[in-house]
Symmetry: C2
């Protein structure tokens, strides 16, 4: 796996303040941030870097049982509780074209949203009596998984009665606290533990991501091995060999010296595009504080060349781009040399689709570089557990370091609380009456500018 | 259908320069832009506003035949040639929960990317001998649809021979020019026409979107009727009743007076979220020029409350948000009142999932407003053809007006050409050797900063 970042440097771009010297001169700040993070790790305040060393037996044992007993598996969770599993499912579980087909296991579904159509459709795709529901919420109080949990429990109870229903559920939650943990204690639900020092968006390598992965038949040991190897690379105190340092330094310098306030991640392989959703959550929720932070944007190549590249090339110069490239696709396809007399068709013949998509990446990155738009390209030899485990770890470390450089706490999310309180108020939750009134007042101000479009129906 | 925009005004936000007076004072600029657009329409330089009046018979006749003859339908097109059909498919074609189930018709697939796995999987999901391939490219030279066309043609030829293969294809392209049109003339492929004065991203209401829609069984007359009604609203020279003017003025004023360089569209209904992809292409490719333009961002509620809202609330104050809300979902589901003794569960019981998701929208918009983040909410009574037709037309007009206000041409896309030329060069297309050398030089500069991560495999 490698990162090419020459087109994020002034030399490669022919312009800009982010020179090789600026990058090397950033060493003291990186050392300082690294020391801060390692101290957090040593004091066990921050736990994600220790996940490669966890005991996998409870995860593997429970997953094995679920694979044996059930035809369907529904993950109920949102944000950090679902995105990691979604990445692993999309990237790795794609028979018949994946060399790593994981044998027969339950069908896999994610219920993240409280979209009534999505929930209804998901429940209709499964047979409750043959389904394991896995409810993931560290706090045990997030509205969306709690609502979907209640809906699923009712469906299960109708199908098999309450006692069996409870045995078809697995909770993944805090070891001590919260509603779900209380239910484990009171009613005997099965549960796996999220380490208290691992936050939701840093939890993909905890049971939150590993248990669903193991249910899918994905080799979670290899995931952790990739993460461990990456962790070792990220301990090197040398920017020429530390991938987290390169990502951190280039994003931070381009943000502060060149006003690149938007970080685009553009994946040139559709099954890897969900990784950009995961990155988008990690980057936004960790760093968007006190007016700081870049806005992460997901893009998919080559599709978004026909949607966003005009803007990236000629719009405001506010973007830095990370391309994700795959060298060897699980399958490939030759473009036949039909119509050799037509110039717009002839040149395609004989190439593979994989060559075409990767050549488009090179052409696009080069055109952007000509205009001074910085980019780096992460190349995976192929998409497998090791590479994904490594990517997760590298980006988690880079995000933590960015937070320290910005001078904010990358591990909290105070900015989502007020919306929750106002929603509680509007939903009539006890103790939130005042918030409900406040929300109604604000929401009604929204209707003071209003316009109706008459569609004649 | 209505737009509430009180929370995009200084009164509602308690701060900012975008006051009711500023909005009303913007009238002369809007008049000027509207006159410019109407002159373009009268001179037939710009055709999208005339699409509601087109003759539908070639579309309906061909679609009827495809529905009768084929079991599978594969749309080959990218960007403006596929996004509109994708919106219509996602939003409207969702049996069994759509009141408008469109009867039996062929299965529907979109081949936009040249991702080798996606193309391979799509071709394996269909039987070539029972499949209609619809190739959409105005120029007839876009690399991705041309490559997928060649791959599909080969698969068809193997299955049924070249003569039948040609009869299983429908082209949608320019009436006179380009490779696809030449093939129509030379080899008798069937074709529908894209009016020369309708650009790709403004073409959803032309055969580009209507033909696939009609194949799906969607009522395209109702789509056009909605677009027509919206067109009439958008001719009103009064900001209190012209939806395009409201969208244009609020985005332009927030961009220029309040530095809102990012326009988020956040849909609180998953099947409507593709509309944000369509918007994202329209806004970016039309307006991202000469350093101008906002970066459009797609978001999905309530999911992205757990991903992006921290950033929107407490990050840089560079965003204006458009929420899409649906009043009546095709299906809904009551959350059962289990666990009334648990405060984090009790308040949910008895509400529907639809109530919860819409209440979360209100809570989120209110929390954002408290921090001065402007938003507007577009509410659809339900998701149907008329509402989608109206949304398409309103946003196309708003985009054109924005372009004129920025002083750029919203109908061209010069910034995508260089990337194409460099790609041609790298692919060995005749006449592009120099470009190929240039791209190789730039691309190799990218490798001057490089780092390998050893994963021990």
């Amino acid at each position: 796996m490698k990162i090419d970042y020459g087109l994020a440097l002034a030399d490669g771009l022919g312009q800009g303040r982010v020179t090789k010297e600026a990058l090397e001169g950033f060493h003291p700040e990186l050392i300082e941030a690294q020391n801060w993070l390692e101290a957090k790790r040593r004091s066990q305040e921050v736990g994600f870097m220790d996940l490669p060393f966890q005991d996998l037996s409870p995860i593997l044992q429970t997953a094995q049982e679920v694979r044996r007993k059930f035809d369907h598996f529904v993950l109920i969770g949102i944000g950090g509780s679902s995105l990691g599993a979604q990445v692993l499912f999309d990237a790795l579980w794609n028979p018949p074209h994946n060399p790593q087909v994981y044998g027969e296991g339950p069908s896999f579904h994610i219920l993240d949203n409280v979209d009534p159509v999505k929930t209804t459709e998901t429940l209709e795709e499964i047979e409750p009596e043959n389904t394991c529901f896995c409810v993931i919420s560290k706090s045990g109080s997030t509205a969306e998984p709690m609502a979907n949990f209640l809906v699923a429990l009712e469906a299960l109870e109708k199908a098999v009665g309450i006692d069996k229903a409870r045995r078809q559920m697995v909770f993944i939650t805090d070891p001590e606290k919260g509603n779900l943990r209380d239910l484990v204690k009171e009613e005997g639900y099965r549960a796996l533990e999220i380490p208290p020092n691992v936050g939701g968006r840093f939890s993909v390598l905890s049971p939150v991501g590993l248990f669903p992965a193991a249910v899918l038949g994905i080799n979670v040991r290899r995931l952790l091995k990739g993460a461990y190897q990456a962790l070792k690379s990220c301990e090197k105190r040398d920017i020429s060999s530390n991938p987290a340092w390169v990502i951190t330094a280039l994003h931070y310098l381009h943000h502060t010296l060149e006003a690149k306030s938007i970080s685009v991640m553009m994946a040139y392989y559709e099954k890897l595009a969900t990784f950009a959703d995961w990155y988008r959550q990690l980057w936004a929720e960790s760093l968007g504080k006190e007016g700081k932070g870049q806005t992460p944007v997901k893009a998919v190549g080559a599709v978004d060349q026909h949607s966003q590249i005009q803007l990236y090339n000629e719009g405001p110069r506010d973007k830095i781009i990370t391309f994700l490239q795959v060298k060897n696709f699980p399958t490939n396809r030759r473009i036949p040399p039909l119509y050799p007399q037509k110039p717009a068709l002839a040149y395609l013949g004989g190439h593979t689709l994989g060559e075409l998509i990767n050549t488009e990446l090179a052409g696009t990155a080069s055109a952007l570089a000509k205009r001074g738009v910085p980019s780096m390209t992460i190349t995976l030899p192929s998409v497998n557990e090791g590479h994904l485990g490594a990517l997760f770890m590298i980006y988690e470390i880079a995000t933590a370091l960015m937070g320290h450089l910005y001078g904010i706490n990358p591990f909290d999310q105070p900015g989502v609380e007020e919306g929750k309180r106002l929603t509680y108020g509007l939903m009539g939750r006890k103790g939130f009456q005042e918030k409900g009134k406040e929300a109604q007042e604000i929401w009604s101000k929204g209707k003071e500018g209003t316009l109706t479009i008459d569609l004649g129906d």
